[in-house]
């Protein structure tokens, strides 16, 4: 039967300890890069985020690169966006980042400023074909950490067939926030709540950023502080205050149920405000025959606050042993016209003119390219790499907005919550 002494020993051994975390040391880096030959090629690791479609295209591009560069082998690896950054964080802590990586502007400072990324100004990558206003978004304090592969811009997506079936006219290309809100309300009313106008666009960080620019405010100051006030934020969230809980805007509850698919891709909303390179994904998800793009609303018709953002960048690890091979691979991925033909606009519109001119755009790809051309006159400089910890701030903006939509927070409470987190984070990283 059960005896106390034996029993207590079992429990003592079994009593589990909670998570414990280990730190690893950093390895040393070499100054000169190692090179390979056709008989004895070097292997570089390349990692990216994306879906199966991107993986297929990337494999084609890698095969092409290896064919032209027999002295280099590229070992490719990919995950989805969320898992991507957690993996990079652990690798960086262990000193084992892959040689070449696809990168996002949100995380450029986190890694660049902390000496995890190679200064690409020290290696040979041709940037002659790049628009000079775009390159600074890959640079921090005069060092180039990332080369943009492509650009994207913010836009309002809509499905013309869906609007026609509701008897609603297509947008004519300019609208104020009031007109946009009326449009969303009309969708909700005419569809009897079957189709929502949109997701709550005030919950999208970049749309907030654009609205700030429309009011001539920069989100972040050069010394890494917030450029806007709590009142700006409250004013922004008030834009859709009357729309929350009506069919003009989909509830967060539905959005959560539909995840990971987007409401627009699930045909539950008539419009969506986001980056223009999501086109292919939305078309596949929604099954719509055609989707169109309109510029974002603005109360100042001459200032749409729009800009071209590097949709992704190519970076190299500061600790790579194969600087030369990494540079050649990056150069190839951003400049080669054949790579443009493989990716079309699935990474965004190619940033390098050489690559853009060498690519034929048809159908939806042409729509995206044409949209970026149509807004050319309104474009301002690309934003500088956001502050350290921006990924966290963007996520908390999304979360607080979602709580607002759920009615768990008031607008004042939401602004307080976000500012507290942001100030804490800025202090933490100062």
């Amino acid at each position: 039967m059960i005896n106390r002494r034996h029993f207590l020993t079992t429990v003592a051994v079994g009593t589990a300890s909670a998570a414990a975390l280990a730190a690893c040391g950093n390895g040393a880096s070499t100054s000169a890069g190692e090179t390979g030959s056709a008989e004895n090629p070097v292997t570089i690791n390349y990692t990216w985020w994306g879906n199966d479609d991107r993986a297929e295209r990337t494999r084609k591009a890698i095969a092409l690169f290896e064919g032209k560069n027999p002295d280099i082998k590229v070992n490719g690896n990919f995950t989805d966006f969320a898992g991507y950054w957690q993996k990079r964080a652990t690798e960086a802590a262990g000193g084992g980042l892959p040689d070449v990586m696809q990168w996002d502007l949100s995380y450029l400072r986190d890694y660049g400023q902390r000496n995890q990324l190679l200064d690409l100004g020290t290696v040979d990558i041709n940037t002659d074909a790049f628009d000079k206003s775009l390159l600074p978004s890959g640079q921090i304090k005069g060092k180039t950490y990332g080369i943009p592969t492509s650009t994207n811009a913010f836009a309002v997506y809509y499905d013309p067939a869906k609007l026609a079936s509701l008897g609603i006219a297509e947008p004519d290309g300019t609208w104020t926030y009031k007109e946009f809100n009326e449009f969303l309300t009309e969708v909700g009313t005419k569809s009897n709540g079957e189709i929502f106008g949109s997701t709550d666009y005030t919950g999208v960080w970049w749309m907030f950023n654009i609205w700030l620019r429309q009011n001539n405010i920069e989100a972040f100051t050069e010394d890494g502080k917030l450029g806007f006030t709590k009142d700006d934020m409250k004013k922004w969230w008030n834009q859709t205050a009357a729309l929350r809980g009506t069919p003009a805007i989909i509830s967060e509850e539905r959005v959560t149920q539909l995840a990971p698919k987007s409401p627009f891709g699930s045909n539950v909303t008539a419009t969506e405000v986001t980056w223009d390179n999501f086109m292919a994904g939305y078309l596949a998800d929604s099954g719509a025959k055609e989707l169109k793009l309109a510029p974002v609303p603005s109360d100042d018709p001459d200032n749409l606050g729009l800009f071209l953002k590097p949709s992704m960048l190519m970076v190299a690890s500061a600790k790579t042993k194969y600087k030369d091979a990494a540079a050649r691979f990056i150069d190839f991925m951003v400049n080669d016209p054949e790579v443009g033909q493989i990716f079309k606009t699935s990474r965004g519109v190619p940033a390098s003119k050489t690559q853009r001119d060498g690519t034929t755009f048809e159908g939806t790809d042409k729509l995206v390219v044409d949209y970026e051309k149509s807004i050319e006159q309104y474009l301002k400089d690309a934003p500088e790499p956001p502050i350290v910890g921006f990924g966290t701030l963007e996520a908390s903006f999304k979360r607080v907005s979602s709580d607002l939509n759920y009615g768990k927070l008031t607008i004042d409470g939401a602004a307080d919550a976000w500012f507290k987190e942001a100030e804490d984070l800025i202090k933490q990283n100062a």
Partner: protein, 317 residues
């Protein structure tokens, strides 16, 4: 083989004070530790070492990239002003308080049903045990999410009976019941332990009670409960500790965000987000240590209170 009788004979003489015997005991101890070495090395390198370094990191601002800087108790004091931290504590405590007793009740009830002699008992035991083998897996979390989603089987089933709750996954009020159901459904492991405990209770006790005219309820409270109390205690302790550590299912069902409206922001999930999404590893380490301390205190309280209700055979009382 030849060792064990010698050992038991020596331990029987352990009251002896002779130096020769103690030298022999020293040799035995050396042999013992030699055999333990592989386990000890793993324990020190993979558990104790990282734990000590995380204790150190919890007093620093370590961010994965830069060398840690000592900031004293800052992480610990900041914790209690962090609303999301307090939210994660609330979520986790309600999960432990409601989920664990329900799970144990289900486990005990099924164990008692399976304890009777009936045909096909082996099959039933395996069938009821199966969910706890696969329950903690990623795939079950995905299935769970689909089942409790909008227009999923649960939503449709309840609608059939006129209960229109909609999907549970997006409704902050329904996510906790959903997680509690998931844990209750995984009652297999405590059930097997209960079953083993039930088999240890001598049948004569029940026979005697029946002769004295005791009914099933009386028999449960006067025989089964006290005789089984060490096993109940063990299961309660293990399941409580286990419940504090819920992570995988919460991570998957909420897409790693703890939503909707923070209703699934479990302690370990928030710890993970702080460490690996926000790169605040020092802060995350402080959270980990606070959890260790709290779980330790709860375990201590359990042991203290156990004296009044847990009965061990061979005890004088």
């Amino acid at each position: 083989m030849t060792q064990s009788p010698t050992l038991s004979r020596r331990s029987a003489q352990s009251g002896s004070q002779l130096p020769r015997k103690s030298r022999q005991r020293g040799a035995d101890a050396r042999a013992g530790y030699t055999f333990l070495l592989p386990w000890l090395l793993g324990f020190i390198a993979l558990t104790v070492g990282p734990m000590i370094s995380s204790l150190y990191l919890s007093f620093t601002n370590y961010n994965l990239f830069e060398p840690p800087k000592w900031i004293g108790l800052d992480n610990y004091t900041t914790l209690f002003q962090d609303e999301r931290f307090l939210q994660s504590v609330g979520v986790t405590v309600s999960y432990v308080v409601f989920g664990t007793p329900l799970k144990l009740a289900a486990a005990l009830a099924v164990a008692m049903l399976l304890n009777s002699k009936r045909r096909g008992q082996g099959f039933y035991r395996s069938a009821f045990y199966a969910p706890s083998l696969i329950g903690a897996s990623v795939s079950i979390a995905i299935v769970w999410k689909a089942m409790f989603g909008d227009a999923g089987p649960v939503d449709q089933g309840l609608s059939f009976f006129g209960i229109n709750l909609g999907g549970w996954v997006g409704n902050p009020a329904m996510t906790m019941p959903m997680f509690i159901l998931l844990t209750v459904w995984q009652f297999g492991a405590p059930m097997v332990i209960f079953l083993a405990g039930l088999k240890q209770i001598p049948n004569e006790l029940y026979e005697a009670a029946s002769m004295d005219g005791a009914g099933p309820v009386r028999k449960f409270f006067n025989i089964t409960w006290p005789m089984l109390s060490p096993v109940i205690f063990f299961n309660l302790l293990m399941e409580t500790i286990h419940a504090f550590q819920i992570f995988a299912s919460a991570y998957i069902i909420s897409n790693g965000e703890g939503g909707p409206a923070g209703s699934t922001l479990f302690y370990t999930l928030y710890l993970y987000l702080r460490g690996f999404s926000d790169f605040r590893m020092g802060y995350a380490s402080a959270m980990a240590w606070l959890l260790v301390i709290v779980v330790g205190i709860i375990t201590l309280i359990f042991f203290r209170t156990s004296k009044s209700w847990v009965h061990y055979s061979g005890d004088a009382k």
